[in-house]
Amino acid sequence: MFQYIVMRVMKGGLTFLAAVSITFLIVRLMPGDPTTAFISDSMTPQDVQALNTSLGLDKPLPEQYALFLRNLAHFELGQSFFYKQPVGDIIAPRLGWTLLLIGTSLLITLLIGIPLGVHSARHKGKGVDQAVSTMIVLGISIFIPLLAFVLVYVFSLELGLTPVGGAFAPDVEDSELISDVARHMILPTVTLVVVNLAQIVLYTRSSMLDVLKEDYIRTARAKGVDDRGVIWGHALRNAMIPTVTVTGLMLGKMVAGAVLTETVFSWPGVGSMIYEAVQKQDFPLLQGAFIVLAFSVILMTLVTDLVVAWLDPRIKLHAESTR
């Protein structure tokens, strides 16, 4: 198990290195002058000179790369064009909000999705199952801004139940902060849950179907363990494995959903910041946002993989597999 963790962490590090290297290459190798991505229209020649030195733009590519990695190791992500502040300082407080939103949505998605998937697997081919299938197709077909707009229109505008946007009201008392944040989170969370639910249900359902076919489940049923016990006790633990694995792989997509959702709901996270950075052509901020998001996703994927390892005894014995 220990060596599995070591391997997995090494792989995560490698993935992160690949992600930042891609960013480095994209910015440097794009057609046109790569330096323009870092030079804002409002910079003076002195600013540009200072930037050239700090990024090594006048040096050969490998040296620039080394410099880039060194800056990264010191958490130096550059200077935002618009805010004229270090990118890290702008992103740091926003990252928490994004993780809060994604984490909550993920938790709710799993809490709804897994039982729904199990239920639909148990009643395969029946009305419930078909309704779930239809929901899955619709779920992965939704355009987030539209869904968000409809939600706001109905719940905020017509019914007046939820706030339109933001994370909390500006003049809220500290003691009411948590409930206020919760109120603001409802619609963005619902949006993300709706678009991500389909995947979880789909995977739980199909892995549950596979597990239910396996011998030991039949044996357990034959032994007279009651159906409920078989499903929730034996089968679910095994069915969870692909579900958790796919959760890890979904994180990247959840981030994509978060960019659009946060934008529509003015959620003060990294996603809405990306939208602003696009508008303002703030490339250092965009690059920083990507690096931070990539890091978060890789870290969370690592965690889900470790959860899978914990759920799946086979991985602990991973080393001994023959060809």
């Binding site: 060596q3 070591v6 391997m7 991973h318 080393a319 001994e320 597999s321 023959t322 060809r323």
Partner: protein, 325 residues
């Protein structure tokens, strides 16, 4: 009769996946020093339990596996040294018939396509029309109708599919046919039809067979010589009649007694082998069979016996038949 194929000291080890903190790679000894001459025109039956290495032997000969050590010579030329066009030519000389008639045909290729493709690749025929004719002839040869060429594998029964598999192997006009459990997946009634087909083809085309099977009755029916393998080694090799009459090695005896229908000898006590075939990663010391042998002796545990010719053409690997006994 001359040796078409000479195998000397053939070894095949499979490396186990090594994990992070393990120093040494460990190996499965699938073939551990095989010496064998395959004579032109003969049918050599290879028997053994699963895990004995008999399938690996066949797969190594057709180069599905690269040997770890030793040599395979075809008509005196070292096969492993062949490259490019020579290797292609060798491919054509030795073909294989697979066990599972369902899995050995590509479900997405029509029968005609599957048969024509190798001929076109090896330029046995010029152009599609000639290929179509050749396919028709091949199908006829294995007892199928030429118009079946346009059908896909799913339309055929198991026996028919095996005939197609044989036809495909024959497409390149090989000298040697390796049959790896070629009939064991078929119904008994179909088995004999296919075995008869093999015998007919042998006569008509002058083929040489290496017939790998666990089924002694099949071996008895088709073979000229019989070879028994245990844990990657040859333990007995003899002409068919001598083999069934004398069965020198204790393992051979156990095998035959476990298949009573094959035995023509008077009823004798069935020899039940103790335990399972040992792990081929760390084979037992001395005689590999000593852990299960009813006749085990002290020497068996320490000294590895050699394959010896006890009488003309009858080789056996056992301390019971040590020199001077």
């Amino acid at each position: 009769m001359s040796a078409l194929l000479e195998i000397r000291g053939l070894k095949k080890y499979f490396g186990l996946k090594r994990h992070l903190f393990q120093r040494r790679t460990r190996f499965v000894h699938a073939l551990d020093g095989i010496d064998l001459d395959l004579m032109e025109g003969e049918t050599l039956g290879v028997v053994g339990e699963s895990g004995s290495g008999k399938s690996t032997l066949g797969r190594t000969i057709v180069r599905l596996e690269e040997p770890s050590a030793g040599s395979i010579r075809y008509l005196g030329r070292d096969v492993s040294a062949l490259r490019g066009a020579d290797a292609q030519a060798f491919r054509a000389r030795i073909q294989m018939v697979f066990q599972d008639p369902y899995a050995s045909l590509n479900p997405r290729l029509s029968v005609g396509h599957a048969l024509a493709e190798p001929m076109l690749v090896h330029r046995k025929v010029a152009g599609r029309r000639a290929a179509r004719q050749a396919v028709g002839a091949l199908l006829g040869q294995v007892g199928l109708r030429p118009e079946m060429a346009s059908s896909y594998p799913f339309a055929f029964s198991g026996g028919q599919r095996q005939r197609i598999g044989i036809a495909r192997a024959l497409a390149l006009e090989p000298k040697i046919l390796i049959c790896d459990e070629a009939v064991s997946a078929l119904d008994v009634s179909v088995q004999s039809q296919i075995l008869n087909l093999f015998n007919q083809l042998k006569k008509a085309l002058g083929l040489t067979y290496l017939f790998i099977t666990h089924d002694l009755s099949v071996v008895r029916y088709v073979s000229d010589r019989v070879m028994v393998m245990y844990l990657g080694q040859v333990v007995e090799l003899a002409p068919r009649d001598a083999f069934f009459a004398r069965r020198l090695h204790p393992y051979t005896r156990a095998l035959i007694s476990a298949a009573p229908l094959v035995s023509t000898a008077p009823r004798e006590a069935r020899i039940i082998l103790q335990g399972e075939i040992p792990n081929a990663i760390d084979p037992p010391s001395g005689c590999r069979f000593h852990t299960r042998c009813p006749n085990v002796m002290d020497a068996c545990r320490r000294v590895e016996p050699q394959l010896r010719e006890i009488e003309a053409g009858h080789h056996v690997r056992c301390h019971l038949y040590a020199a001077g006994q």
